[in-house]
Symmetry: C2
Subunit: 285 residues, 2 copies
Amino acid sequence: MRRISARSIAFQGERGAFSEVAVRQLAGEDSPVLPCPRFEDVFRSLAEGRAIGAVVPIENTLAGSVHENYDHLLSFELPIVSETSVRIVHNLIAPEKLHFSQIKRVFSHPVALNQCLDFFQKNPQIERIPFYDTAGSVKMVMEEGLTDAAAIASSVASEIYGARILRRSIESDRQNFTRFFLLRTAAYARRHRAAVKANTPWKTSLVFSLHNQAGALFRALSAFALRDLSLTKIESRPLRGKPWEYLFYVDFLGHLDSPQVRNALGHLRELADFQRVLGCYPKGA
Amino acid sequence: MRRISARSIAFQGERGAFSEVAVRQLAGEDSPVLPCPRFEDVFRSLAEGRAIGAVVPIENTLAGSVHENYDHLLSFELPIVSETSVRIVHNLIAPEKLHFSQIKRVFSHPVALNQCLDFFQKNPQIERIPFYDTAGSVKMVMEEGLTDAAAIASSVASEIYGARILRRSIESDRQNFTRFFLLRTAAYARRHRAAVKANTPWKTSLVFSLHNQAGALFRALSAFALRDLSLTKIESRPLRGKPWEYLFYVDFLGHLDSPQVRNALGHLRELADFQRVLGCYPKGA
């Protein structure tokens, strides 16, 4: 078990969750971690100094953007310093000595069970049992010493709980990716932006609001188009309690300190009711 | 129990799921229904004539767009004929004779349990137990005749399984809405567009793809802005297997048969690699 310290990276879920896979990609294999019950706790751990970083999922190729985390990005003002993409690989995981033929029950989160329907159709003798959490189901199967049960979770969960992978990659759809952000403090983000070598391609994430008028978004996007800045994501979201105003999340290629980006943000400020930079970070693979 | 017939509206989930609440809003309180295990089955039921309509969730205010259903909209080519928004109200539901003080365990889908954290913090004597489905947990609690257990689900689930609501609206966040589409056959959609009175505001939903170049989206949106057509939603999504191309989902106010919309779509066709109208329907409340 790794130590949990003020040098930890916070994430939501049990040890071995897919967010912990993202922590390893973003902060290194040996980074100490701080598992948290809720997304809000992840942000709070960093804001209050119990962790030096926070890793949160922001969008999934099947399920879409995690709006809750966009809300927390707005209210906590913790900057994004890097991004990564994790392929959601589901593995059938059981205690060391069990054989596949002994498995009669499989525990996991209902979403994970539903993403392995082809496996269950081929193995109708196996019962599916919903559980709170993918990694938590591995923990439970190991702790209870069940002799007819397996779990579905990440390979990291198998490693952490000393279990064995009986079947790798049993998910029906291999095009299931989740994009994660690493957040740090504002002071760290400023140093980081200067330190990382300049010829890396950079991305900037931005949120702004527009009053709903025909052509409002078109005019706002002129701020980017006129400076040849490429958008990599755009998404609108109705503003809570303000029926005809919209928030827009935009990611584009460019460094916050470059003249084009500074000019684009100045131009956009003339048009938007509200605007905030969520982070500027090296473009992920 | 309502009859299930070829006049049914298909939806995903158990009887009493939030999708069935949407069916009632979209097709009337008395519409016969066809519950299906997967979203794909919902589309297939309509495509193959086992149902006359299909109701699917398309976006949620907390969880974002349901990309899987956008994929099915593209592959099945079944037009949207109306939209509605359902507030996700979670109720504590138990057999008729139980009192709140007797409840020791509560079953529901993990997402629903997590959306009622304030309730569980105020009632620490109650254990949370994950279950497949919100409505399915009501069905199970009723069928098993449990004397210490309740479920969390919609009020429609309580009505269908003859249960009682012990506590109404125990969700922590009241700003949790899901938008649903009703799909019908192409022939129905054509008649419907002509029959609904002309002074209703209409929406059109569209998907198109652009090759990623700086300013590509800006030029595409000029097709709408130059004709004063207001966008109500825009979302980009990377195209599977084509790393630098994007799909865009756009909703805008306007009727497909109006000259402005016809001209905008003609203009967009010059710029987009691919474009498809997903439906034209009266704007929901």
